[in-house]
């Protein structure tokens, strides 16, 4: 498995978008995408947490769980790492950068239960990435998630006062818009990246 980390990063944003292809992080994607400002905040928080937790979980998995033969505990360990990292980030940001805290802080507690974070750690194990590849994959997935939620928020803010068929507000229309977006993103899989 020696794929260029840059290729993994770009693929995670476009062709293998964590949300549009692997459906991860849908809950907060559907509920927080009403306004562009809050979706940027959440997207940035996801990007930040994903980049770090995929690296930390890689190190823990390969240097603690495998030598001790505790691989079956990976789910519990990963979720604890994610929760602890989120908590830690919240404390650090609150202490050192109040401005950043007001933009990212309120979204951080939401992140622990975002399945994209755990999903990236699990995919990283299944695909046997190296450390650099894992971090690139985490960062790319975070950016891809940010792109997707930003696009949906932009579309939804324009739909706000438009007429929609009865019963189609909120979830139904968001899912159909996402389907069209996913269709568009499939187009990226034809793009060859020259190494």
């Amino acid at each position: 498995m020696d794929i260029n980390p840059l290729v993994i990063l770009l693929a995670a944003i476009f062709t293998n978008n964590i949300l549009l292809v692997y459906f991860l992080g849908m809950c907060s994607y559907l509920s927080v995408s009403r306004e562009i400002t809050s979706s940027i905040g959440l997207g940035m928080a996801v990007f930040f947490v994903l980049t770090f937790t995929s690296g930390i979980n890689y190190l823990i998995y390969h240097y603690i769980l495998i030598p001790l033969d505790l691989v079956y505990l990976q789910y519990i360990i990963f979720i604890i790492v994610i929760a602890a990292f989120v908590q830690l980030t919240e404390i650090v940001i609150e202490r050192f950068s109040p401005v950043l805290y007001y933009t990212l802080g309120i979204f951080l507690p939401l992140i622990t239960v975002n399945c994209a974070i755990l999903g990236v750690s699990l995919f990283m194990v299944i695909r046997q990435y190296s450390f650099i590849q894992s971090v690139a994959y985490g960062a790319g997935s975070g950016l891809g998630w940010l792109v997707a939620i930003l696009a949906l928020a932009g579309i939804r803010s324009r739909l706000k006062d438009k007429y929609l068929p009865r019963g189609m507000n909120n979830a139904a229309i968001s899912l159909i818009i996402t389907g069209i977006m996913a269709l568009a993103f499939i187009g990226f899989s034809g793009v060859a990246i020259i190494q």
Binding site: L20, V21, Y22, F23, L24, G25, M26, C27, L30, S31, Y72, L73, Q74, Y75, I76, I79, I80, A83, T112, V113, N114, C115, I117, L118, G119, L122, F123, I126, Y163, P165, R166, G167, M168, N170, A171, A172, I173, S174, L175, I176, T178, G179, I180, A182, L183, I186
Partner: protein
């Protein structure tokens, strides 16, 4: 509340997917084949019922500040059981579902039921509520999978239903169709059961 009322509420009127829009991730990811959806649904019923039961059992002893962490750990332990069971008995299925078995931990349905029901009710009622919500979830999963597998492969549970004349829609196997089918399903159910004609703008 009566036992059968809890059941009907959990499975249909408060259905996790079309009413509360929770747990969409796995609803979309595993529904390209019916057999995957069935296994996933059974895994969720098992985890949901037992974790609701356990959380309700210890609800008086859990400090409020750490209860999210405690709930997550309880859920994770049951998911590990499901995962080990699948790996041992159906290794092919375990490989097909990939990380989505592990992702039952962050499935919002389980946390949602724990917070909304198991925190306030006795263990037995929570168990019923968990089973009901799980069944409601499985029904939706199977419904979506039925549409996708029938149109994408012309088969159900792997048995060919539509003959050779059927040209498979490859889009139905791919990601976008999951969004379309679920979106249209939620729209239909909202239209039919949860809105009245007078609410139209």
């Amino acid at each position: 509340m009566k036992k059968n009322e809890i059941f009907i509420n959990g499975a249909f009127s408060d259905n996790p997917i079309w009413k509360q829009v929770l747990g969409i991730c796995s609803a979309l990811a595993v529904t390209n084949l019916m057999i995957n959806s069935l296994v996933m649904g059974l895994g969720v019923i098992f985890t949901l019922a037992l974790s609701s039961f356990t959380i309700s059992l210890i609800r008086d002893y859990t400090p409020r500040r750490v209860r999210m962490m405690v709930q997550t750990l309880i859920i994770a332990s049951y998911v590990i059981i499901v995962d080990i069971f699948l790996k041992a008995i159906y290794p092919d299925m375990s490989r097909a579902l990939g990380p989505y078995v592990g992702l039952i931990i962050t499935n919002c349905i389980i946390m949602g039921r724990a917070e909304a029901f198991a925190q306030k009710n006795n263990p037995f009622n929570s168990l019923i509520d968990g089973v009901a919500a799980g069944i409601g979830y499985t029904i939706v999963l199977l419904l979506i999978a039925m549409i996708r597998e029938l149109m994408g492969f012309g088969s159900l549970f792997g048995f060919t239903i539509l003959g050779d004349w059927w040209i498979s829609w490859s889009i139905m196997v791919m990601a976008p169709s999951a969004f379309f089918v679920l979106g249209l399903l939620i729209w239909f159910i909202n239209y039919r059961y949860y809105t009245k004609p007078s609410e139209e703008k």
